[in-house]
Symmetry: C2
DNA sequence: CGTACACTTGATCTCATTCAAGTGACGTGG
DNA sequence: CCACGTCACTTGAATGAGATCAAGTGTACG
């Protein structure tokens, strides 16, 4: 979610030459990187906070969201280990972010030179993260604008299974039904009903704790998701 | 819509130094730029086409969209004069694009070096376009996921009026109700009804041809849009 | 002047929401 | 180890916002 690169940061972004290959420095320690651990459901930053840093997930799951004045919430995206979030083109965070599960973060202080050629690998990683966010957001508009509840659940489970790379055909759901609902533009009850229905139809299977999903008929799910 | 910069194009993007100020070359002729005029409702490129070029609008309005296998359509965005669209991170266009009105385009051939430091102004414009797309897509997810029909119309009219800069408080709608519906996740009838309702409530006013909207109570619209 | 097409309006239907219990997994303390 | 309480999830019934089906109306264009 969220874009990148302060307007002021754009010029430096293109202002230096870079060797072709660099260490994956986003995973290495450096003077601009600190660590932070956040408990489940704790806030990482709020919507409207000054965007001082951006983040890479070492472990855990994060959600970013926007609120309407009456409390309606839209979760823009879930971020998994390895993902970058919190990038903004402007001064402030346009979404809030909090931890879905206990999360360990690498915090990148957003300095004027943080995205310059000093670290081309970082800059490239940042641009790639932004592009991935855009593609996911575009795909998600299709889901929110035109898909039925069943189709939304099918799409969501498939997308998550592709990102989580659990044992083939099994997805664990780190987030609550409430989070799923606010991501998929549904109510918690509609999510529950759609999951139950897919289960009855034999497309998926859930253990008693209901937080893991086994994809029994991925082809049928893919057909539903279109 | 659509992102930018082939994966292969990322490295060159950061590979050259650039003077601080450059001509706005996206509006000037050069060997990589050609012109193209497209009639209303004609296709510019289809979803899945190889992304050979990206485009800047000289005049007219463009819509980008995705289709589900049964024909349901989601319009991702409308682009106005000055906007850039057709940027992709991958090989192919992930959305289709066609002209809403007769449109004049500047076509930028996507060469390996088209986004390098040879033209830092172009590269910066491209990244900025991508970021704007992302912010709009994120805002639109909130609309599609959580707003009522009335709220969607109010949000849409306000956003369009801010981009079109007509005489204050007047927006002309270049697109049909059908296009609005497929952008806002509604049916054409629901769009019509919501517009009529806002009109009856005195928030907007429409001349007999129904293709222009006068914002009579922008504050109330803004409150609706949240 | 007449035809076509876009938009509006009306009646009915449907899918998801809302409101209201119910069920079961998990953690805590006795 | 089991009783209890909590919280997340599920299920049921009633409601409602928007979709669908079906005419109308009016604007533009030849």
């Amino acid at each position: 979610m969220q874009t990148a690169l302060a307007t002021a940061g754009l010029a430096p972004l293109f202002g230096r030459s870079v060797p072709a290959v660099l260490p994956a420095s986003l995973t290495s320690e450096s003077r601009t990187v600190t660590r932070r651990t956040v408990a489940a459901n704790d806030e990482i930053y709020a919507e409207g906070d000054r965007a001082m840093s951006f983040y890479k997930i070492a472990a855990g799951v994060v959600r970013t969201y926007k609120l309407l004045s009456d409390g309606r919430r839209q979760i823009g995206a879930f971020y998994l280990p390895g993902d970058i979030f919190g990038l903004e083109s402007g001064e402030d965070h346009r979404f809030g972010a909090d931890a879905v599960t206990e999360t360990r973060l690498l915090v990148h202080r957003r300095e004027p030179r943080a995205l310059t050629g000093d670290d081309g690998a970082l800059a490239r990683e940042v641009v790639a993260a932004m592009m991935r966010d855009l593609e996911r957001a575009q795909e998600h508009m299709m889901l929110l604008g035109r898909k039925s509840a069943r189709e939304r659940i099918a799409s969501f489970l498939l997308a998550l299974s592709e990102r989580m790379a659990d044992s083939v055909g099994t997805v664990c759901l780190p987030m609550s039904r409430n989070d799923m609902a606010d991501h998929l533009g549904l109510t918690i009850e509609s999510v529950s009903r759609a999951v139950t229905q897919l289960e009855r139809e034999g497309l998926i299977e859930l253990p008693p704790n209901r937080r893991t999903v086994i994809l029994r008929n991925a082809a049928a799910l893919r057909h539903l998701a279109d």
